[in-house]
Subunit: 192 residues, 2 copies
């Protein structure tokens, strides 16, 4: 039974507001891939748009450019080892979904392979072609056209991170396979 529920598009950018490391999925011409990406950020709430760095030499970039689409899955602590594993080999050397026995669903709008098991949320994105920034900075812009999140950790447009859902807290890559996990939510206090 899935705990994933649709996220309204005006709330989709909040899914990556806090800088989690994500998994980028892609599909074109019958080939598919998944890679890890530490470098992504929202650039707008409405319409929901994001920027993500996808190196021009990667198989993911090839597929995303060919299809004009890419998926973003947000791994939880439960998928930490998996996130590092898929970030450490190329999809040109074999299908990583098979290699690591990763279950995927087909996205509702773009049909992209999306991962729910061990993940907190996913987004389907259309690539907004920006040739210069893609070439100069490997920075790809995308518009979110569908999103969903595990209701145990994100509901009504807000993250709820506490002891009850520690396995779905987001992970944030420091480098070299070292990560930090997101803590429970803490609220800022007004300054005098």
């Amino acid at each position: 039974m899935t705990h994933f529920r649709p996220v309204r598009l005006e709330h989709a950018s909040r899914l990556i507001n806090h800088g989690p490391t994500v998994l980028v999925t892609s599909l074109a011409g019958g080939r598919r891939n998944v890679m890890a990406a530490a470098w992504s950020m929202p650039v707008e709430f409405t319409p929901p748009r994001i920027a993500i760095v996808i190196d021009k030499h990667t198989f993911t970039r090839e597929l995303a450019t060919a299809s004009g689409t890419f998926g973003v899955c947000i791994p939880g602590v439960a998928a930490l080892d998996l996130a590092y594993a898929v970030g450490s080999m190329s999809g040109r050397d074999g299908d990583k979904f098979e290699r690591f026995s990763i279950a995927s669903i087909a996205g509702p709008v773009l049909g992209l392979p999306l991962i729910e098991h061990g993940c907190a949320a996913w987004l389907e994105c259309r690539l907004i072609r920006e040739q210069h920034t893609e070439d100069a900075y490997d920075t790809c812009f995308g518009e979110v056209v569908a999103a969903a999140a595990d209701e145990r950790v994100f509901t009504n447009g807000h993250w709820h991170l506490d002891d009850s859902n520690a396995a779905l807290h987001t992970i944030h890559h420091l480098g070299g396979g070292n990560f930090v996990r997101a803590s429970n939510t803490v609220q800022a206090k007004p300054l005098a």
Copy 2:
């Protein structure tokens, strides 16, 4: 006594690799400002380049465009309330350094105001002018020309997050004044 030590430029992008919320500082024509920004990411390690979203209506954007420079300070848990406070008012309504009694130093290369107290690291950046992405996505690119970090939390190009330096663990904004803190470092394990 400061615990800040220079960070080699090839390691500078690692300071924001894990998606922390940052403080953006600026200085032009004798006016200065500091604002919070949740949306930033590295785009390259060498040369160290980053992208950051700075709304075109902000005072920070006005100063950064005028000077062609901006600073990035990385608040720790100790500066969580401050980060939210400086993100909740405009520098056009008064100098936030005075308002919140924020001590700053002058950056070594660009002379930008930089905050060390309560922060884990800082970077001085030159704005790389990209008119189209600035206009269309409020996305500003910058090249890091100087960086430093508190040696208690970042040394030899690596973050070291543990119980001994919890006040300097980075903070990550979920929205509406809700944050998560970075946990102690955890290491990914190889998958079979």
